[in-house]
Symmetry: C2
Subunit: 553 residues, 2 copies
């Protein structure tokens, strides 16, 4: 691979700041199984050869830094010269999040925007001072946690400003306090998922928040984007586990103490959660933590079709004792998952299911955590419903395999991009009475939009979050890239977003709005809703320096 920054001396220090490769996910390539290669070959006519590679770091287009000497001096005076960095690697590494389009642009050496400097505040006071400097010098500020946004949330757009900095929160690290009596932990915003989990585990607690970006994403990012994790059915979405926070804005620090639910006016907390850095920088979050589970049971089932699976999930979501993890794949995603997994999953298993009458099996992963007695009770209630809907048990190995590999999918993307594959995800949520139809319509639209030059795209879908009133839909799509991959995806994405708002579904269940969904937000929350968000922004960020172009267009 050309342009490998791992060999770059600067990279070692940088990895502490940003542990992912500048052009892709994580620090390594995932392995494409032979079965997946076969799928790619047969459906997309791709897969055997590497046909596209990221440019060398030296070849990435990089505008000169527009940061004035005066601004740089003021920033350095606050955070120290070593924490205002603008070397090539760091500027490029902060130039984008990790969406497909982000990666296409980075690999081509043409990022949409590049920050003029990366600033690393060491404290909340640093953050406040940096905002003051930036407001005075008309510099846009892009809060940057793990940089894992897949919706353009960290793209360093300057807006109307003279320059733009990426505010990397890595140094706002660590647990402030774990209060075991209240089961509340105060965590600094820059803390990464695994670090937070490890420190809480040391006190006997867990946050239980495991989005696919877990390894790199941060506490502040979870809060700013209303993140949902793979176990959120049991542990709750991040916006449900957050009890309080501190948010540094250009107009002061908004402090929401972690007191129990109350009736003291509108929820300031729920107005800052999901604000995506457009109102200020979340510096600390108080979260509800739970005792670490003493036991864990994950297992796989196969359902005869997507309708019976949706019916089963519907029942489970409205009865007592939800599983902690529920993940139901349609037939297309199931076939792909089995292909990716390889081995028996792509060998005798499909034949066995066929023999059991499941010609187009749909994989269901269910997981329970906690006390053994709670696991067995909820498991019993869950599998009764699954059996009633024709479920065939695949056993714990299928569940454990999923659990072991649950953060793996993004690592496959870089080698897929190398092979000219369009690979991206889309997600939404809707009510139960709309779910079946919406999945069908989105899948059909994806199939139609992405059938490039006679190839047949591979769209798959799973439900990962269920609520009494509805559920999420998460689409993964692989197709053949067109010449202009960016334009291709932007066209498809627009088509699907239109479809979602036409169906009354949300434009995002857990990826947030960023730049990518911003044009559709008004159709979801109305002119009046947009007006409210603008009013909040005018109040806290009158100069508009905070993350321009995100959330609001």
């Amino acid at each position: 691979m050309s342009g490998n920054p791992a060999s770059d001396k600067a990279a070692a220090g940088m990895r502490a700041v940003l542990p992912t490769r500048w052009w892709g996910w994580g620090d390594r390539d995932g392995t494409i199984s032979d079965a997946l290669l076969t799928e790619l070959r047969e459906h997309l006519g791709l897969g055997d050869r590497v046909i596209s590679r990221p440019v060398a770091l030296a070849d990435v287009e990089l505008p000169a830094s527009r940061l004035s000497d005066a601004a740089r001096t003021a920033l350095e005076a606050q955070v120290g010269p070593e924490h205002v960095v603008s070397d090539r690697l760091q500027r490029v590494a902060h130039a984008a999040g990790k969406s497909y389009v982000d990666l296409l642009r980075l690999r081509a050496g043409r990022p949409l925007a590049v920050a003029d400097a990366v600033v690393l505040p060491g404290s909340e006071a640093d953050v406040a001072a940096v905002l003051t400097v930036c407001e005075a010098h008309s510099i846009a500020v892009i809060p940057f946690g793990g940089g894992t946004s897949v919706v353009g949330g960290v793209t360093p757009l300057p807006g109307k400003h003279a320059a733009v900095i990426s505010l990397n929160l890595r140094r706002l690290d660590g647990v402030v306090e774990v209060n075991p009596l209240n089961q509340v932990a105060r965590l600094r915003a820059g803390m990464r998922g695994p670090d937070a989990e490890a420190e809480l585990n040391a006190s006997g607690f867990t946050l239980g928040h495991f989005p696919q970006s877990f390894e790199y994403a941060t506490i502040g990012g979870f809060a700013a984007t209303r993140s949902a994790g793979q176990a959120s059915c049991g542990y709750g979405r991040f916006d449900a586990m957050a009890l309080g926070l501190r948010c540094v804005t250009p107009r002061g620090i908004v402090v929401v103490p972690a007191i129990p639910p109350n009736a003291a006016g509108p929820s300031i907390l729920q107005l800052l959660l999901g604000s995506e850095g457009t109102l200020g920088v979340i510096s600390e979050v108080a979260v509800h933590v739970r005792r670490q589970p003493v036991a864990r049971w994950y297992e796989g089932w196969s359902l005869p079709d997507v309708g019976s699976g949706i019916s089963a999930l519907h029942r489970i979501a409205q009865q007592d004792g939800l599983p902690d993890v529920v993940r139901f794949s349609d037939a297309e995603e199931t076939r792909l998952s089995l292909a990716v997994a390889g081995g028996s999953a792509s060998g005798w298993l499909p034949r066995l299911l066929d023999w059991r009458g499941q010609t187009e099996p749909c994989l269901l992963i269910v997981g329970w955590e906690g006390e053994p007695v709670s696991i067995s009770r909820r498991r019993e209630a869950g599998i009764r419903v699954i059996r009633e809907h024709g479920g065939v048990r695949l056993g714990r190995r299928a569940g454990e395999t999923w659990r072991r590999n649950r953060f793996e999918a993004p690592y496959l993307r870089d080698p897929l991009l190398d092979r000219g594959v369009l690979v991206e995800t889309l997600e939404t949520a809707t009510s139960w009475d709309q779910l079946f139809e919406l999945r069908r319509d989105v899948a059909a639209a994806l199939g139609k939009e992405l059938g490039v030059g006679g190839s047949s795209p591979l769209p798959g879908c799973h439900i990962s979050h269920v609520y009494p009133e509805g559920a999420s839909l998460y689409f993964t799509v692989m197709a053949r890239q067109e010449q202009d991959g960016v334009a291709q995806w932007e066209r498809v994405k627009a088509r699907i977003c239109d479809l979602l708002v036409e169906h009354g579904a949300t434009i995002t269940h857990h990826h947030a709005v960023g730049t990518d969904h911003a044009p559709w937000l008004e159709r979801e929350i109305g002119t009046e809703g947009i007006g409210l968000l603008r009013a909040l922004k005018a109040q806290l960020d009158p100069a508009g320096i905070m993350n321009p172009g995100k959330l609001l267009t």
Copy 2:
């Protein structure tokens, strides 16, 4: 009783609008038991005689209506002349909510403020048109549901405006839709608790929301105040069961559709819940409903002291399978409750408990609803903890008695006021690690403040809502009225509110802010929080006609 408007001809029609007596709670007096009379006599030197009565309706001070002919004509043109009313009874009946101070003022014939007219819109379009008229004529608008506010939430303060109307939402009645598949119901804002429950029951569902004001309070009021009910441990607070709403503001209708939880920006829903009519008029709420419970089990326990009860609740709140109802009274409230109940509760029961070593027993009511198997499982988990904390079982009768009488307490207030008793409640919530100390400090402060002329007040406290991170505290206080009862209570209330914010507890767990808590809100949510609420108000209600003086001072 003098001045009984029930004999008034106008009252019959009015009851359909406002079913409570203008000077007090509900349509009848509760009965003061002999045992309670003894308590009042011994502690307060009061109780045997009626020493104070409400003035006659004709004697209530009533300013001339300031509504201009032009405004009246415009309002009548929209809603019909019969729905713009300003006779004496109706103006007085809408002059206040139901706090102790409200009632003191009404009984003395000196309401703090009186609306210039009561307007009854028949539709959401009516509401929008009324707001337009009112903005044009500089008329303040007080949204009025059941009128049960105990924090001054419906006091018709004109603010800076020329006149003020009370906007009675009684005609926005009925269920818009019950969607059994999604378990979502859309309810109009003016619907009262029992009507909503009856209509949902007819479809096999329940809302499960039973605040003490249930009989009169409305869906819109629940949403506007972030109401919590007696069964909210199980069914969730109203701000958790609300999934969407429609809010008519002077700048358009904000529509929050009932889609599942999502990441599409800050929660517009959670910013309108708790807005207390200061941003607009909530016209419809979409709520999560549940299947009606097939079984129900309530029972009473006695704990040896307040500390062991708090420890038990703490454990229960952080384990699986919370009861639906949890209500734990301290020794003082327990003694009073038993006295109010009379019979064996004030006879042999205390002696039995004394024999079991409980010299100062603390009553715990726990209730479970749902499937029998869920009830037994959760009950088993709960009572194990209760027994471990020294609980003595009182049986189902105690639980059922509580359940039967759970809306009764407010009916006692009028006959207590007749006897010169100060009777009021105060509530808050705090984290588990602060709970014991806060209860003790507030009880001590109440005792100190209310020991009038050698009398010893009767302050009691219960915990009615538990969360993993903390719990509510609800104080009921009876004391001897001073000459100036209003000034007396305002002094005590200020002392307690100071104490709450000093302890970092909320100024209100479920009564909302209104006028009464508004002076303390800034100490809870900060200058920045207040700034955000003002920005929202400036956006939706730039002329400031919506419920002036509530929430924000």
